[in-house]
Symmetry: D2
Subunit: 367 residues, 4 copies
């Protein structure tokens, strides 16, 4: 099954394994005439790149992106944009041992069951390295959104239960600390917890939060293609994500209708909600207010604390996984959430242009 594509009009296809020759993506359906160069994409790959702090794997990858097609004289042409990132340090020797057993919390076992065998080098296609292609493609979507005035702010809200304090929220702080948190004090505390976990050979989970402004009302479609449903799929398709909630999310399940409903007020640009428990989406369609959601990210499954597992002969063994692993996934995953969000929005923006017969008639009047 062709599972490596995402989107309907603005559609990407990613490829590549952790220790293969390259990873990357083809972006098809990007509108023509968008200014785009490799630096636009490189910026986001650098944010996702391993080796940038003591909390990310020391694997060294320049992650240099090459645009091999789809642009001409600095602009997109409307044809597929091929984004290639060569893998530089594929240290296969590190991974030969894991060929023989199933790492807990990884996809080793399920890939073997589905495909009969697996590329065991660094997790192959199930590696987090797969997300480099998503981020490269997402950067193209971000460029399109920026032109339309849409801004995505994505960050780590909590790590191992240590949460940011809303009153200290500072967007600029996100890039100042290695944990991608918008609160310096919370980040310092989380760093201590992470250092402690790593000393013990353990890892921590976290929560990513995303806020999007500038989204016009009307994006998303009724029933199955709700904007919220597509955000849920996009976010839950990221390897370590175990949960998704929009607006009040799970808290809404314990609330009363009178608390959870957002009253409408008369505003200068028309009706506006007085609160935002809905998270910016009503009936699956954007309402013009801020869109907010959160994603739960599990702790890194690769830990050096000994764990019980089974080898391919069916024998129970104890394994201790060493190598180049982040003790926390959430900070780098936040960049991936950002990219996936941009892809969902770009596609929804294009799809929404065909919702009304009068708009279509206007569009074609002079063409």
């Amino acid at each position: 099954m062709a599972g490596s594509s995402f989107g309907t009009i603005f559609r990407i296809t990613t490829f590549g394994e952790s220790h293969g020759a390259a990873v990357g993506a083809v972006v098809d359906g990007c509108p023509a005439g968008l200014d785009l160069c490799e630096q636009d994409i490189q910026y986001w790959l650098n944010l996702r790149r391993p080796g940038s702090s003591r909390f990310t794997t020391p694997r060294k990858e320049a992650d240099l992106v090459h645009i091999l097609s789809g642009t001409f004289e600095g602009k997109t042409t409307g044809t597929p944009i091929m984004l290639l990132i060569n893998n530089e340090t594929a240290r296969s020797k590190d991974y030969s041992e894991i060929a023989g057993y199933y790492r807990p919390g990884h996809a080793d076992y399920t890939y073997d069951r589905k495909y009969g065998f697996r590329d065991y080098r660094g997790g192959g296609r199930s590696s987090g390295r797969e997300t480099a292609g998503r981020v490269a493609a997402g950067a193209v979507a971000i460029t399109l959104l920026a032109r339309l005035g849409i801004d995505i702010c994505c960050y780590v809200r909590s790590i191992g239960g240590i949460e940011i304090d809303e009153s200290r929220f500072n967007r600029e702080e996100i890039l100042n600390n290695p944990l991608y948190m918008p609160d310096a004090a919370a980040a310092r505390e989380a760093e201590k917890a992470l250092d402690l976990a790593r000393e013990k050979g353990d890892s921590l989970g976290g929560i990513i939060e995303c806020r999007i402004t500038g989204v016009p009302a009307g994006l998303g479609d009724p029933v199955f293609e709700k904007l919220s449903a597509n955000l849920a799929k996009a976010v839950c398709s990221i390897g370590a994500v175990k949960g998704f909630e929009i607006g009040s999310g799970f808290a809404a399940a314990a609330a009363r209708g009178s608390e959870n409903n957002d009253p409408f007020r008369a505003g200068p640009q028309g009706p506006a909600k007085a609160s935002n428990h809905a998270g910016g989406i009503l009936g699956g369609i954007s309402d013009g207010s801020e869109i907010t959601f959160r994603a739960a990210v599990k702790p890194t499954p690769s830990i050096s604390i000994p764990q019980q597992t089974v080898n391919k002969k069916g024998e129970e063994i104890s394994v201790s996984i060493h190598g180049r692993h982040d003790p926390v996934i959430a900070p780098r995953a936040a960049v991936v959430v950002h990219a996936m969000t941009a892809l969902v929005l770009a596609d929804a923006l294009l799809l929404n242009m065909t919702s009304r017969a009068d708009y279509i008639a206007d569009f074609y009047k002079n063409r």
Copy 2:
């Protein structure tokens, strides 16, 4: 945008408004030779049907399904199965008033923004009545899954914060109480809370839980078509759902890797996990163990407590919504979650058959 279809091979398309002539679904891609009659589908529609308890809208709908195509002599033929449910009591007079303003927590405003106008009768396409088509189509998927030994158990885990006690879990109890809870004591407590809320003109949210057994290992695809991602989309596409979590879900975000990883043990049928924080899916692919997930459902937005909103002239007004409304959505939504889950699994089962070249060669050897 064609947003009313779901699935790739086993694909459904739903249609219908709350107060139009009919609702229903076309199921395309259902394999031939499956025993199917109207009673198989009616059973699930009856579970979802309004008017069955004091916690559901007193709207009377027989919700009788008619199979208009796709079966012959009691078996599916491989061609589209058309499932039609006529709307009987479309009391449009109840709704004429709401044409002029935007109900908080509803899709009135976003539909107007997207489409320029809306079918305001009972919420039109954004009404919960849309889910009758999903349930009818889902019943076909359930029939296919049953033949393969796959069992879905879906129920209400909590209402307004009142949660079931795992030690009292009794599957048969689910159909014994009006709240679809597998714990009679919790159901009684929740009923009291609901009566109290309704007296005040208010409503409550809840959490739905789903457990699936008998799923073979290997379903789902890497990257974007993870089984978990498709379950997330399926569940978050249901009107009132605000969150989704699989396995440990949001709790995993506060856990350590050594807690959250599931060790493998040697079992009689091969490797088996000693715990199930993963919720039965590793790397997006089913691992053969129980699949578990939860969905957060918001409280019914239609409440009679006065709320502030804006009318189409832009004036702020106070509204009190009377009419036929459930004080809680979760119990009836649980049937919809069940249906959507079946649809995701049926599609994944069909897609997975093509994952290996040797299986394909075997399949065609004598055909």
Copy 3:
């Protein structure tokens, strides 16, 4: 496999068997605000309807269409439009005999091989009756195209080798004769040939031609989604169609480049082609000129002349097929070609709106 849907944004799903309860279609993705009533659709169904002349099957079907969803106060709402046509005269006794053998030129054998059995009543899903759903859905597309000034003229060009004379082309004549030909003299001659064929228990094939004006330049996409490729698929998906050619078609294969190229001239609205061997499409994209194509339709396979075939026991038998059959398919198929053409164009029109970043920015500037 879900084979009964067509289109990406403007997407239809048809259903129904020849002798089931009903046939019809769901149109999803139709823009909101389009004036649409049942008469708009009925007009086209009447053109396709059996029983209207001595060259069509005497089966009596009113083919009355009911819009069960997707419109409100005479306008489309943007939600799925359900079009239902009840089957009235399902004379199953006529067909019970054919259950036991494979009719030459029909799909009996292949359905049995694919699905293990078949709905043998009147050909089931493989019957030409399936096209009623296409025509109903196509009528919605035609309504959208009309609003944009796009005109499709579709007719029978030849029957049994008897071809229209271009110099006598008269569009109004198409509806004046039972053979849907724009040349009264050719129609009279073809009628004679058909009468002769029918007397002998035989049937004739024909060629359908289609000319489309008012199509803006820019529709269609490079590579696989060429407008010409989608027209080819649309037309070749109609039961009896055996060939498709655009512009000069097969004649181009015997031509020289200097003959086949269309020179550009300077025109009042920009460049215009001095000839149209291309058929209005260059590189898969409409060039703003008339689009022209032809389809080859085979003779009706149901003939009363005895034919050799095999029954389900594997015995060779001779069969003579009596019943309600047209001696020629092309005239009624021309209405289906018209409908499919409209569906391809409607979808291409919507898809093309997202081709340029500046258009997208314009669209969202004030929304």
Copy 4:
């Protein structure tokens, strides 16, 4: 619009411009465990490669393919197979002149109208070079088909009206002459005609024929996803193709039913057709016999004979197109038709596995 993907389960996405950095394809949904190396693909790229005879453009391209992902230890892994072909000789200076005007018979004008500008170097994405990605991807499909015993024979049937003689049909001859014809005498005659055309600065069209054996009965789906409809789309999506016909094709339009129907005979493996006017497909589904179709290919539009056209200022000018151009497209296009045919069949083979509930139950019985 994402127009560069083809297929549902076995799905490819191509990319690349004539004078960009690279062309290629991503193959997603290829089953795991298939033996595949670069030579398997290179063989087909070499057949398509320019510069191999005096009738192909003298442009020199090694067209070396690199598999960058999706295989491990010589086998496909079930993950996307990335096939990269670097462009070596991108002589942009040859093409700078054509930036200013619209070449007759090319997509220059329509790309400008659709996208606002174009990559004018060698035709950019509309160049025949785009087909290298199709052929590379098609080679993967051919490898899968070979394992299942399916054989495709594709060749040039006629050039400039000079047709092969069926009695001299010799499959091995196809690779012996530069025109890809299975009849040495016809090839010699066609060579002379081509030499003559080229001397005059002109070009010739041709017809490609395809015969496929070993296809199991049951491939393809009713209504829109007929095997014949997908072949039509696949073939008509190739740049210069102007027509498609299956089996008797356009000849069927002039035939009687008694001539065109294929009687069934009792055969050792069940019913078999005594003739094959149907071309191996009945009701859109393969019947187990040979599949045959033809494609009409227009003459090369780039000719050195002066032609009238219009420049971007709107002025009429006369142009004479020199450079590296084949005087006939059909021979190289035959390799592309072969590749596209393989892609359609591979996808249909995978899709057909889910057609029957009993087959599905069998498949999962022990998994």
